[in-house]
């Protein structure tokens, strides 16, 4: 079997275009799911009791349903229900963020719970308000402890954006498939795709691990 990478070199523009969209979708999804997940996670811990039931239901439902199903449902079924048709990229952003935010919420809850209750009581005893105690005592310690988990969220997000190809988001996986079909060189195209994803994901996870190794002492109490 002979390998021929010329079709890939000739279409590098097309692939780079897809890669750019993969990175953009990943970045926006990470930001959106961190914001949404932090809000849900904190409301679950510190929010009013009546809010806890729907939030837990949302989190557990997202843990129960495949991301593919959320993607396909958001893109094909939601427009029929709401009357608003989202372009594939935005549908993927919404679906991925709603899905991944549930995992972020769990991380936030676990991080906050890992700070011993005595810390909170001590802060209150010193005359801090509850909000102050959360902001200035609990969260700074919890955030450091959540770092490794956030690292895996970034890597999960990048990997999940590849699934957006099923709703035809023109990201890297999608462009690879197109090129594999047009060039009749699927082996070479997918080999390059594997190398590209690996070269993005491996350094990302390593960088987060190294950052955590440096900051871990700040989370100890």
């Amino acid at each position: 079997m002979e390998l021929d990478f010329t079709p890939i070199l000739e279409s590098r523009r097309f692939l780079l275009d897809g890669l750019e969209r993969t990175l953009l979708l990943s970045l926006l999804t990470v930001i959106l799911s961190l914001v949404l997940g932090a809000a849900v996670g904190l409301e679950r811990v510190y929010g009013p009791r009546w809010l806890r039931v729907p939030l837990v239901f949302y989190i557990d439902s997202m843990r129960a349903v495949p991301v593919l199903v959320v993607l396909v449902w958001t893109y094909f079924a939601l427009p029929l229900l709401s009357g608003v048709t989202l372009p594939p990229f935005w549908a993927a952003l919404v679906a991925l963020s709603v899905h991944i935010a549930a995992y972020v919420a769990e991380i936030v809850r676990a991080g906050v719970a890992s700070v011993r209750p005595g810390q909170m009581r001590a802060a209150l005893a010193l005359g801090m308000s509850r909000a102050q105690a959360v902001r200035e005592i609990v969260l700074p310690q919890a955030l450091v402890r959540m770092l490794p988990a956030f690292g895996s969220i970034i890597s999960i997000t990048i990997k999940d954006t590849a699934i957006a190809t099923v709703i035809a988001v023109p990201e890297y996986m999608n462009h690879s498939q197109t090129l594999a079909g047009e060039s009749f060189r699927p082996i070479e195209v997918f080999m390059v795709a594997a190398a590209v994803y690996f070269l993005i994901l491996f350094p990302t996870t390593r960088a987060v691990d190294m950052l955590y190794a440096r900051l871990a002492h700040l989370g100890r109490s």
């Binding site: 079997m1 557990d60 439902s61 843990r63 129960a64 349903v65 495949p66 991301v67 593919l68 199903v69 959320v70 396909v72 449902w73 094909f76 079924a77 029929l80 229900l81 890597s155 990048i158 990997k159 999940d160 954006t161 590849a162 699934i163 190809t165 099923v166 996986m173 690879s176 498939q177 594999a180 699927p186 082996i187 997918f190 795709a193 594997a194 994803y197 690996f198 994901l201 491996f202 996870t205």
Partner: protein, 219 residues
């Protein structure tokens, strides 16, 4: 918009078959990936640099690739490179097993490494052989620690089986989407698909939480 939910009951048989294949695929993958993971972990801890390096390379490679890419690659590359034409189910199973084995390898390695060295040393000091110490002292404790992680991996795997629908394995997601395009009842079929996954996945997620509380270690 008119909804016609009868399409779901009319196709209940096909959906049930799809669900069965989903469960079967997840179970078959785990049946391959648990021994696969133990094998990778033992290579990693073997003391041989070459074997440990090979195991680490395999693990890092598959942990840092999108699963859907592995599935597509298996579908296109295996027939051309290996000169065998496997049915979609076997191709999907191979891709899932490679992915989950890599995760399980890390799980088992961490589980065995989490048992303090003194445990094995004490067993040796009591006159046990290395293998006895591993089997009777280290492994029983490691399994307890590994169980919650394996349970979470199972739930992830159960959901990830939906990805093999892209290579036409007739599991639940593929079946639901096929009926959708045949009947044009998009909202009904996709909602039914989500509901079935939810009904199967929700108790599993809750069970994982329970296993975590029961077997989880906090030191």
């Amino acid at each position: 918009m008119t909804l016609d939910w009868s399409v779901v009951s009319a196709n209940a048989g096909a959906l049930l078959e799809g669900t069965e294949l989903t469960v079967l695929l997840a179970a078959a993958t785990m049946a391959l990936a648990v021994p696969g993971g133990i094998f990778l972990a033992l290579l990693r801890l073997s003391g041989s640099r070459v074997l440990a390096g090979a195991s680490a390379a395999f693990t890092e490679f598959f942990r840092n690739l999108p699963l859907i890419l592995v599935i597509y690659s298996a579908y296109y590359i295996m027939p051309l490179a290996l000169d065998v034409s496997l049915p979609p189910f076997a191709t999907g199973l191979a891709a899932l097993a490679l992915n989950v084995s890599a995760y399980n390898g890390e799980t088992f390695r961490a589980g065995i490494a989490s048992i303090r060295k003194g445990q094995g040393e004490a067993a040796l000091a009591l006159g046990m052989s290395r293998w006895q110490a591993m089997r009777e002292v280290v492994l029983p404790q490691a399994v307890r620690r590994v169980l919650p992680v394996l349970a979470s991996t199972w739930v992830s795997l159960f959901k990830d089986t939906s990805l093999v629908s892209v290579i036409a394995v007739g599991e639940l997601a593929y079946t639901a989407m096929r009926i959708r395009s045949q009947t044009f009842r998009v909202l009904e079929m996709l909602t039914a698909m989500a509901a079935i996954y939810w009904m199967l996945g929700y108790p599993q997620a809750k069970l994982v939480d329970w296993i975590n509380r029961k077997f989880g270690v906090s030191e």
